[in-house]
C-alpha cells in the first residue's frame, strides 16, 4: 500500500510494460524493442530534463520547442556556410544557451510570468528560425559525421540512448547532489525565503533557463542528425509532451516535486504507450483514447494506496 502510494507511477510503468509484453511477446516484449524504446524516448527525455530544471523553480519554459526547431535549422544553415562540425555545434549550443538566458532574465529580473515571457520569446525565436530557413526544410550539406551523432549503435546501445544516459546522469547529479540543485529546489519551494537567506536567486534562475534551452538545443541537433533534415517547426511536438513527462514524473517520486528520475519515468511511459499501441496495431483514434486513459490510470494508481484522505 505504501509502495503503491510512493511509487505508484513507477509501478504503473512496470505494469504497462508487462501488459504489453504479454499482449505481444514476440514484438513488444523483445530486448531489441525495449532497447529501441530507449532510443525513441531519448530526444523527448532530453528536452523534458531541461523543462524539469525550470519546473523545479516553479516556472514554465514554453520556448523549448522553438529552441529545438531553431537548433536544427541553425545547424544545417551553418553547415551551409562551410563551418566545421565542432564550430557548428558550439555556435548552436551557445545560441541556445543565450536564448534561455534571455528568457530567464526576463522572468527573474522583471518578474514577468514565465508562461507569457517564454511563449512570447518563443514566438520571436520561431520567426527568426523561419527567416533563416525561409520556411523550408533544410537538408543539404549535412556532414555524415554529424548524422552519426544521432544514429547507429555503440556496443549494441543506440547512440541517442547514450546521449540520454549521459544527460540524465549529469543533470541528476546536478539537481540532486550539488549546491546549485539544492538552491533550485529552495527557490522553487519558497522564493522569498531563498532570497532572504542570501541565495543568488536571479542568477540561478537565469542559469536554469539557460540550461533548459541548452538541452533543447542539444535535442534539436540530435533530431537533425537523426532525421538528416531540419524543419522550421520540427520541434513543435515536444512542448506538451515534455511537460507531460515532467508532470507524470512529479507523481512518481518525492511528493509532487519535479525530479530527473521522475521525468525519465514520465518520458518512458509516453514512449512505451506509443510504441506498444503501434505494435499492437491499435487504430489511430483508439490510440489517442487509450494513451489518454493509460496516462490517467498511471497517475491515479497511486491514489488507491491512500488511506482515507
Amino acid at each position: 500500500m505504501i509502495l503503491l502510494r510512493r511509487y505508484g507511477t513507477l509501478l504503473a510503468l512496470a505494469l504497462i510494460i508487462v501488459i504489453f509484453a504479454i499482449a505481444s511477446p514476440h514484438a513488444f516484449g523483445t530486448v531489441a524493442n525495449l532497447v529501441n524504446i530507449t532510443q525513441q524516448m531519448a530526444l523527448l527525455a532530453i528536452v523534458a530534463i531541461g523543462a524539469t530544471l525550470v519546473m523545479v523553480l516553479g516556472e514554465f519554459d514554453l520556448s523549448v520547442s522553438s529552441v529545438v526547431s531553431w537548433a536544427g535549422i541553425a545547424s544545417v544553415a551553418l553547415f551551409g556556410t562551410g563551418l566545421g562540425l565542432p564550430a557548428v555545434i558550439a555556435l548552436v549550443l551557445v545560441s541556445s544557451l543565450l536564448m534561455g538566458s534571455i528568457s530567464g532574465f526576463l522572468v527573474a529580473r522583471f518578474s514577468v510570468p514565465s508562461f507569457i515571457a517564454t511563449l512570447a520569446f518563443g514566438t520571436v525565436i520561431g520567426g527568426f528560425t523561419f527567416w533563416v530557413s525561409n520556411g523550408a526544410t533544410l537538408f543539404s550539406g549535412i556532414p555524415p559525421a554529424f548524422r552519426d551523432l544521432g544514429r547507429g549503435m555503440i556496443l549494441g546501445i543506440p547512440v541517442p540512448t547514450l546521449w540520454l544516459a549521459g544527460v540524465a546522469v549529469i543533470f541528476w547529479l546536478l539537481l540532486d547532489q550539488t549546491e546549485f540543485g539544492r538552491r533550485l529546489y529552495a527557490i522553487g519551494g519558497n522564493r522569498e525565503a531563498a532570497r532572504l537567506v542570501g541565495l543568488p536567486v536571479r542568477r540561478d534562475m537565469v542559469v536554469a533557463f539557460a540550461l533548459c534551452a541548452g538541452l533543447s538545443g542539444l535535442a534539436g541537433l540530435l533530431l537533425t542528425a537523426r532525421l538528416g533534415s531540419a524543419h522550421p517547426t520540427g520541434g513543435g511536438g515536444y512542448l506538451l509532451q515534455a511537460y507531460a513527462a515532467v508532470f507524470l514524473g512529479m507523481t512518481a517520486f518525492r511528493e509532487g516535486e519535479p525530479s530527473i528520475p521522475g521525468t525519465l519515468v514520465g518520458a518512458a511511459i509516453i514512449a512505451v504507450i506509443s510504441n506498444g499501441l503501434t505494435i499492437l496495431g491499435v487504430p489511430s483514434f483508439l490510440q489517442d483514447v487509450m494513451t489518454g486513459a493509460i496516462i490517467l490510470a498511471a497517475v491515479l494508481i497511486r491514489h488507491f494506496g491512500r488511506d482515507g484522505d
Binding site: Q177, R182, Y185, G189, A193, L196, V197, G308
Partner: protein, 528 residues
C-alpha cells in the same frame, strides 16, 4: 445565548488520539471547557496543542477518543460542521487569502451580505469595520493580506473570527506577534466574549498573559493532558513544571535579567561596529542607528511601526537610500554579501520568509551557508554527513522536537519551525545578528535557550539588533531600546530610562521619554 444543559460541561474532549506516522501528536488528550469561560491550553512546543485545535475544527479526524458538546457525543467531520456548531478558529499559522483584504477575508466561507444575487460590498465592509474598531482600530481594511505585516494579519484573523456570533472561539497563539497594548485590547475583547457567554480556548506561551487572562487551564505534554484546573490554583512555576514534566533545569521561570550590571560581553571600545544612516518610513525621515560590539539593541513599536521593514533594509533585502556600514566599511550587496561579512538575519514570518517546505528540515538549516558543508572545499557538493551533523547539533541545542530531520519542516509544530529559522545561524561566527521576533511561538524553555544564544553571541563582541513584540523579551535582553512609530524613531531608551512603562508610553505615542525624541535633524543628503 448559550444554554448550558444540565448534563455536563459545555465541551468535553476525552482521550483524543491523533498520530502522524510514529509521532503521537495526541495520545489521549482531555480537555473540558465551561461556557463563558476563558480556558488556557498550554504546553511545550510540539506538545500537541495545534493538533488538538485542528481536530476540534474538523480538519483532522481523531484516531480515538470522544467529543461531547452539551453532554452529547458529536463527530465533527469537517470545518463546515465545526462552523455550524458555532466554533470559530484562529489557527496558529495564519490562513488568509493573499489577494483579499481584511474585509474579503473576513467573509470567506460565510454567508455574505447580498443585494439580490450580488454581494453587498458596503454591508460587508461595515460589519468588519465595526469589529475592527474594537480590537484593531489601525488595521488597514483595504490592503491585500499579502501586504500586511504579520501582526496586521493576525488582527485580520481575529476580526474574521468575530464577525459572527460564536459559542466557542479558539485562539492559537493570537498574541505572539502583537505588542503590549494590542494584546491588551484583545484581552478586553476576550473578556467581553466570555461575559456574553462564549467560551474561549486560548493558547499562548506567554504565561503571564495566561495567568492574568484565563480562568482555567489544561496542560498538554507529549500529546497527553498532564494537568487541568482553575488558574487560581496554580502559578507560573507550577505551569512550567507541568509543561516540562518537572524536569525544568533551565532558568526559564523568570527570564528578567538584573539590569544593574553591565552586560557580560559589552566591549568598552567606543566605536560602532554596525551603523546605518537612512531615509526611512513613509515620511522618508532620516534614521540613524549605531550598534556597538557586545550590545543588544531592541526595536519596539506597534504593529506596522516599521521594525521589520527596517531590519529588511539592514539585511540588504529591500532597498533604501542611505548608507549602512560594518566596521566602517560600507555595505553594498544583498543578503549574500552580508552573510560573507558575518551578518545574520532571522525573519519574522517563518512560513513565508523562513523556509522552503519542499526541502527537508536539515537542508533548510544548511541553506544559508551551503559552502560550509562541502566534502571538498573547492567542489560545490554538500556532504550529507556534515549537514546531518550540523542539524543534529542545532536540534540538540534548541531542543527541536522532530520525528525526523530529513522530513519537511511542515511536520514541525509552530514553535519548532521557529527554532529551525533561528537555529540555522548557530555555530557560526557572527558579527552582527539581526533578529525579528526571534521567539514567536516558542515555549518558555526553548525561549530561554534562544535568549542564552543571543546573549552569548553578543558576548562574543557581536552586535545584536532585535525587533520584538514581546515586552518581557525586550526588557530582558536589550541594552538599549529604540521605539518606532510609523517609521519614525520616537524614543531611545537605555540604562535607567529603560522601563516597561516608558517603552509602552513611547510606543503609544504619549509622554516623550526623558532622552527626548531622537529624531535627528535632516541633513542635505535627504532633502531632494
Amino acid at each position: 445565548m448559550t444554554e448550558a444543559s444540565g448534563t455536563g460541561p459545555f465541551l468535553a474532549l476525552s482521550g483524543l488520539i491523533r498520530h502522524f506516522g510514529a509521532t503521537k501528536a495526541l495520545d489521549g488528550a482531555d480537555l473540558v471547557i465551561e461556557a463563558g469561560s476563558v480556558h488556557a491550553l498550554v504546553g511545550e512546543n510540539g506538545a500537541g496543542k495545534s493538533t488538538l485545535i485542528k481536530t476540534l475544527s474538523g480538519l483532522y479526524q481523531p484516531g480515538g477518543g470522544s467529543i461531547r458538546l452539551d453532554g452529547a457525543d458529536i463527530a465533527i467531520d469537517g470545518p463546515k460542521a465545526a462552523e455550524a456548531l458555532g466554533f470559530r478558529f484562529i489557527h496558529q499559522e495564519l490562513n488568509l487569502v493573499p489577494h483579499f483584504d481584511a474585509v474579503g477575508n473576513a467573509w470567506i466561507g460565510r454567508r455574505h451580505p447580498r443585494r439580490g444575487p450580488f454581494l453587498d460590498h458596503r454591508a460587508m465592509r461595515r460589519r468588519v469595520a465595526e469589529i475592527a474598531a474594537r480590537i484593531a482600530p489601525d488595521l488597514p481594511l483595504d490592503r491585500p493580506a499579502i501586504r500586511l505585516t504579520p501582526g496586521q494579519r493576525q488582527m485580520a484573523e481575529i476580526v474574521r473570527a468575530l464577525i459572527e456570533p460564536a459559542r466557542l472561539v479558539v485562539m492559537d497563539e493570537p498574541t505572539s506577534s502583537l505588542s503590549e497594548g494590542e494584546a491588551e485590547r484583545l484581552h478586553k475583547v476576550v473578556r467581553r466574549l466570555a461575559e456574553e457567554g462564549t467560551a474561549v480556548l486560548f493558547i499562548s506561551h506567554r504565561l503571564d498573559e495566561v495567568l492574568e487572562l484565563c480562568g482555567s487551564y489544561t496542560v498538554l505534554r507529549n500529546g497527553r493532558t498532564v494537568g487541568a484546573g482553575p488558574i487560581a490554583g496554580i502559578d507560573r512555576a507550577g505551569l512550567v513544571a507541568l509543561m516540562s514534566g518537572g524536569a525544568s533545569d533551565h532558568a526559564a521561570v523568570d527570564p528578567m535579567r538584573d539590569r544593574s550590571a553591565p552586560p557580560a560581553g559589552r566591549s568598552e571600545r567606543p566605536g560602532a561596529l554596525f551603523s546605518a544612516d537612512l531615509a526611512f518610513g513613509p515620511a522618508n525621515a532620516r534614521f540613524t542607528l549605531e550598534a556597538r560590539p557586545g550590545e543588544i539593541i531592541g526595536l519596539y513599536g506597534l504593529v506596522g511601526s516599521g521594525r521589520s521593514s527596517l531590519l529588511k533594509i539592514l539585511w540588504g533585502a529591500s532597498v533604501a537610500r542611505g548608507t549602512i556600514t560594518i566596521a566602517g566599511r560600507k555595505l553594498v550587496g544583498g543578503p549574500a554579501d552580508r552573510i560573507r561579512k558575518g551578518i545574520a538575519y532571522v525573519p519574522e514570518d517563518r512560513r513565508r520568509e523562513g523556509f522552503a517546505a519542499t526541502l527537508s528540515i536539515e537542508d533548510n538549516l544548511a541553506l544559508a551557508h551551503l559552502a560550509d558543508f562541502r566534502a571538498v572545499a573547492a567542489v560545490p557538493i554538500s556532504s550529507r554527513g556534515k549537514i546531518r551533523q550540523f542539524a543534529a547539533g542545532v536540534g540538540a541545542r534548541l531542543r527541536l522536537v522532530a520525528a525526523r530531520l530529513d522530513r519537511s519542516p511542515m511536520t514541525l509544530s509552530g514553535g519548532n519551525q521557529q527554532k529551525l529559522v533561528f537555529g540555522r545561524w548557530l555555530g557560526r561566527t557572527i558579527r552582527v545578528l539581526l533578529v525579528d521576533e526571534p521567539t514567536r511561538g516558542v515555549d518558555v524553555g526553548a525561549k530561554a535557550e534562544i535568549h542564552a544564544e543571543m546573549r552569548r553571541i553578543a558576548a562574543e563582541s557581536a552586535s545584536v539588533i532585535m525587533a520584538t513584540s514581546d515586552i518581557e523579551e525586550l526588557l530582558a535582553l536589550s541594552d538599549r531600546v529604540l521605539v518606532l512609530q510609523t517609521g519614525r524613531l520616537i524614543a531611545e531608551l537605555g540604562g535607567t530610562t529603560l522601563t516597561r512603562s516608558a517603552v509602552v508610553a513611547a510606543a503609544f505615542g504619549h509622554a516623550p521619554s526623558p532622552s527626548g525624541p531622537a529624531v535627528p535633524r535632516p541633513s542635505e543628503e535627504f532633502i531632494a
